[in-house]
Amino acid sequence: MATSTATLRSATLDRILQDYAAIAARLPDAAVPRAQRAHALAALSRLGWPRASDEQWRYTNLRAFEAVAAFRPAALAPAAPAPDVSDALELPPPLPGFQRLVYLDGVRHSAVATAGNGTGSAASASAGKDWPAEQRLGLLCDMFASDSAALRIRGSTAIELLFLTSAAAAGAGCYPRLQVTLDPDSELNLVERHLGAPAAPTLVCANVRVEVGRGARLMHYRLQQCGPQIAFADTLAAQLDEQASYSVRQVTIGAGSARTSAQVRLTGRGAAFSWQAIAVGRGQQVHDTALKVEHLAADTRTEEVFRGIADERARVAFSGHIHIGASAPGSDARQSLRGLIEGAGAEIDLRPRLEINTDEVKAQHGATTGALDENLMFYLLARGIDRTTARALLKWAFLGDVLRAIELPQVRRAAEHGAAGQLPDVMAIGALT
């Protein structure tokens, strides 16, 4: 259906365009080439600011994104080596064996960077690639990013990326930008964490592009633990070559409102993708994830597991769309989505979708939403466990299969503590000893 440009214009889009016009000349070409910024500007102008009436955006709390005072980036240039970033934010302990890169308000903070070969800040190689309509917030990052992390991996390595939002960023935007390219047969353990709790509504709008070469393996841990004033948008695009393997373990517990939009293309024969994620919302948090996986080659595999808990008045949504194309016989796609409603005003929305256009595929999907299983509850009560503890144990168990899939102990502990922090009754019983 054609829609006139006039109807797509909104006050928010006008503000974005004004902010961009005011700062465009000062945005560094080294992060995003000027032509690509202009391309993103044109695309967003054409698509318009998303509306809640759009199916793809109906579970996103767009108001939280619209409440940000300014879309201009909070920082334009790499921070000076001093003062140490730890003065502004408490950094998590380093991960043994990992190189650590720190980005503060979207810009590389050189004081605490320990980058090795193949890492650095540079314009991404993805110039000219469009974000589709359901990923249009990625265009904001292309327009406003002040820096860009580019990782090109040969051999085997482990990298931790910390994206921090400082108090100074309050009211503005932070645009973490990451390009990860794995050469054939290389291997990367990547930890991506988003932290920070400014005092006023702040936008964190991240773009991640991933290319996994033939026979390469990427294990990608993603922890979003931002403060409640942050509106967090996370746009990811990945492409997997022949026999490549890409595994994501995602933990979404922070931000007042968060939207993750990921699209993964399995273009090489035998490519394997795994997405195991939890989202735990409480208060009035909104966590919305939209994941689309396209099987475009034979013998490709997808495993998708999502566990969401909505407590109090929170809303947790997950849309999982798996498309198996005509060129992908022998594909295997499994999807398990489960939601747990804990609060009287809470909401869970799970939308599984399997689209199969070829024969000889294995596919299974299941989606359930509800309260705690009464059979499990009775079993614990029948052992003398009190009701409060039983509830907490079962909530913890509900998240267990995803948390246990986090193989790195330090990352798993961070994820567990973060998730338990969202569930005070779990914290109270000390289930995560």
Binding site: F378, Y379, L381, A382, R383, I385, A397, L399, R404, A431
Partner: protein
């Protein structure tokens, strides 16, 4: 021991009743499943409740343990002199009532050790005893694990997660041994066990036998009773205890089946 119909029942002991059920009527989804069950279980006794499928055996066990979904129409049940139905399921367990499940659930993410320790300490708190610390708990559980021929690695696994049917039943008995209940209700614990597993489970049950404890075995077949010899056998048919006796009644049932008793009740 008393029941609706007594035939060749052995004399009751002089011990005080641990469990006393009087004319219990229970509905499930509007249908009466228990239609006036009376039963007295004294300390030290082992009772077997047998009966055909659908006779109400498991319903009785679950009602006593406090499972929701049952409508208690009339009757009373006391446990150690307390009104059992006034207690929540967890209070019943802490007071010393244990239900061994026919189909133990799997709870991935809650490990066996955590559950057992929490359960033991909940019961100890109830009795005014100090909680066990990690070392004391481990010392206790190790002796029971050995008895049940369970690998110690089970402790760190999720409750019944990936266990075979036999392993689940052994785990139920392990929990029972660690919790040392006053009254164990074992709901078809023998179902699905091969002969070796049956012997291990029966040995565990016999270990619990003591002058101050009682066991109620709910079973469809008499083979478990070769290893755990009951003091009393009751036949539940159409929601009533239709016949009671000693263990020879179980042998008779083995020969004749349940139809003759069900027919008597229908008549």
């Amino acid at each position: 021991m008393s029941s609706a119909v007594d035939t060749a029942a052995p004399s009751p002991s002089s011990a005080a009743p641990l469990l006393e059920i009087r004319d219990l009527r229970v509905k499930v989804a509007g249908q009466e499943v228990l239609r006036g069950v009376s039963l007295t279980v004294r300390a030290g006794e082992v009772h077997a409740i047998m009966g055909p499928n659908g006779s109400g055996k498991s319903t009785l066990a679950h009602v006593l343990a406090g499972r929701p979904g049952y409508d208690i129409v009339s009757g009373s049940t006391s446990f150690q002199g307390r009104d059992l139905f006034a207690l929540a399921p967890e209070q019943r367990a802490r007071a010393g009532l244990f239900l061994g499940f026919q189909y133990p659930v799997e709870i991935p993410g809650v490990n066996n050790a955590y559950l057992l320790k929490a359960a033991v300490n909940a019961a100890r708190r109830e009795r005014g005893l100090a909680e066990l610390d990690a070392f004391e708990f481990l010392a206790l559980v190790r002796t029971k694990i050995k008895l049940m021929q369970i690998d110690e690695s089970f402790l760190s696994r999720g409750v019944n997660e990936g266990f075979s049917g036999g392993e689940k039943k052994r785990n139920e008995i392990l929990q029972m041994l660690v919790l040392e209940p006053k009254l164990a209700l074992l709901d078809e614990t023998d179902s699905g066990l091969d002969i070796d597993a049956l012997k291990v489970v029966a040995n565990g049950v016999n270990t619990l036998r003591a002058a101050d404890r009682s066991i109620v075995l709910v079973t469809h077949y008499q083979r478990m009773l070769d290893y755990v010899v009951p003091d009393f056998v009751h036949v539940l048919a159409r929601g009533r205890i239709a016949r009671s006796g000693d263990r020879t009644l179980a042998l008779e049932l083995e020969k004749r089946g349940y139809d003759w008793i069900s027919d008597q009740v229908a008549a």
